[in-house]
Amino acid sequence: MRRGKERETVVSLSGVGCTTASGKRILDGIDLDVRRGECVLIIGRSGSGKTTVTKCINGLIPSFESGIELEGQVRVCGLDPSACEMYELAEHVGSVFQNPKSQFFCLTSNDELAFGLETRGVPVDEIERRIEETVEALGAQRLVGRDVSTMSGGEKQSLVFASVDVAQPDVLVLDEPTANLDASSVRALHDEIAAVLAAGKSVVIAEHRLYFAADLADRAVLIEGGRIVREFSPEELFALSDKEREILGLRAVDPAEALKVEVGAAAGRAAGRSGHAAGDRAKAGSGLVLSSFTVARKGMPVFAPVDAAVPRGRVLGVLGENGAGKSTFLRGIAGLERGSLGEVSFDGTPLARKQCRRTAALVMQDVNHQLFSDSVWNECALAIGGRDDGEAASRVRELLGTLDLSGLEDVHPMALSGGQKQRLSIACALLSDRRLLLLDEPTSGLDFDRMVEVARLVRRLADDGACIVLVTHDLEFLNRCCDDVLELACAQGGNGGAHG
């Protein structure tokens, strides 16, 4: 693992500091050298400055962030990002960002793979040769000859990575590349990064999902408040106790730990077929009951029929591979899918599709799609039915207080942070008296502290009598807040039983 100890330095930051236009210091005295063939992990809480470091390397600071003042010296493969053109830098540095949706330009994967070299005017046969090499080296045959719009998020991210690598940069800079990916896509990306390292390139990864890259890294630097406060060898990283790790705001390092389901014990209750379920249903007489529920698309069920009971006050976590239909499952319960089969009932009443839409609240993975008003207050007023006087107003005020949103009444929803938007969306659900909450990947891209906050909130909502179904690939989160686990199986693969 001690690759490239004596090799040349490809990235060197010395005394780098960044100050925003409002005078906030977001990086302070960063010294970091990356050698050829080395893999450096930049770790730390959200907002600590991890992304800012990557932006200094790939030239987005100062090219794109004109408000940020950069000091100190940055050298990337002998170039100074603030003095050279972005396209010159692009020949040496490749960047992969968080959101797989907004990083590709072509509609077919082959054109996308060619993109970087095409803009440089490299002869077409040479481009094809390099694509073949890259596809071979990364084992990315599944990406060739595809229509990009039919690819999953994980495949898109692998495509972006492969396309960046085709251009053969010396350094790859990855800014939270796995934030929106499920376990198998994360593994695919991991193997692709390993292949790039084996080819002698340098990789810089800003990430808080440590398990994903801990075994690839030659070292990890911990950033706090814009400064490098500690450097770890991989051994030190693995040796961190849970407690130390959580104090530093980091996610699990060991894949075995990050990918372990601990909730199983209570899972029997989720399955309607098991003996417990009938008793539970009679006892509680409330909450969500699904019987032989599935969603058909083009006449084919997307996932095997599910029988499950989620009484009020309980949280059901839904797991499943990419494409197993997790989001479709939630959309079906919410009444957004035309072809739903089987029965959905809530508090003992079977629901037609339209009633589902009036009973359930869905917090989407991209919460931006569901905030419509020009201020937090109006958003709440819209949810409560247009009234914002007297009793309604005091209800809104109280709820904003409990969800840690007070003082933000006049702020535009789009100006809120991701977590605040998520809580606002939950507030709207509660104000319109929805007690069936469906959450789609509520912790994607969150660091440890924020993940724990969401887990606490979910627990609190359940304790207040909500019935919660959440889809997630974040098992650390699932283990913290779910009572039951359901693993969705593809329709062909037998029945979607409870996880054991």
Binding site: A90, Q141, S163, A183
Partner: protein, 248 residues
């Protein structure tokens, strides 16, 4: 379970077929520039007076071109629709009369005028990908400042459709008063478009889209004999209509 399906090997095209290859549909495989030329000819023809026979011949000729390019159903559809259009104009309307007929006569006649353009345009769009068309435009020396926004716009359509569907779903889950529906739809759409545009341009810049070197023609476009022949026939058609169009 994990990882299954992700490693399943897809077909890797052999050397020389990754880029610019496309399934051959019909007897003719034309360069997009040829079809652009035909489109230009069709536009010129739209402005010229021509007799019914000439018009019919032209429609059949373009239909033949569509068939030769492998778009048989498209050709049949256009020819059938043309027959229906003429039927309505020459048989139905003279018998019906009245204000309604006059109103429709105008729009139907207009459709008839631009019919050739519609046919050629449909052929161009369905015969070539956006990437192929922009490669052709690049070969025609259209500047990058026009091409890049064009490419990105087309690239954004599928995303726009997806986002719009999400927003519609989110709206149907909330009881939104009819009066504010339009606003509630547009606000998040514009917001998401703005952030997507920003992220896209960052990613594009980091991949060197601003490189002033002339881009590679990865579509391997070339004008063959068939292309020149089609262009020559189009030019001849324009000349013929200009000279004898009215009476032929």
């Amino acid at each position: 379970m994990i990882g299954e399906g992700m490693t399943a090997a897809g077909p890797v095209p052999q050397g020389g077929t990754i880029l610019g290859g496309r399934p051959r549909r019909g007897a003719l495989a034309l360069d997009p520039r040829t079809l652009m030329g035909v489109l230009l000819a069709a536009s010129a023809l739209a402005f010229m007076g021509k007799g019914v026979t000439a018009e019919l011949c032209l429609v059949v000729a373009v239909g033949l071109l569509q068939t030769l390019c492998g778009h048989v159903r498209m050709a049949l559809g256009f020819v059938a629709a043309y027959a229906a259009l003429m039927g309505v104009l020459y048989v139905v309307f003279p018998h019906v009369g009245g204000a309604a007929a006059t109103m429709f006569t105008i729009s139907f006649t207009f459709a008839r005028k631009i019919y050739l353009c519609l046919m050629t345009g449909a052929l161009l769009v369905s015969d070539s990908s956006v990437h192929r068309i922009s490669a052709a435009l690049a070969k025609l020396k259209v500047p990058q400042s026009v091409l890049i926004p064009l490419t990105v716009t087309f690239r954004y359509f599928p995303t726009l459709k997806e986002e719009a569907a999400h927003i519609r779903d989110a709206m149907s889950l909330r009881s939104i008063p009819a009066g504010s529906r339009a606003e509630c739809f547009v606000v998040p759409l514009v917001m998401s478009a703005t952030s997507t545009a920003d992220e896209l341009s960052r990613a594009a810049t980091c991949r060197g889209i601003e490189n002033p070197a002339p881009s590679t023609d990865t579509e391997r476009l070339s004008m063959r004999a068939a292309d020149w022949a089609v262009l020559a026939i189009s030019a001849l058609a324009v000349a013929a209509v200009a000279l004898f169009g009215g009476s032929a």
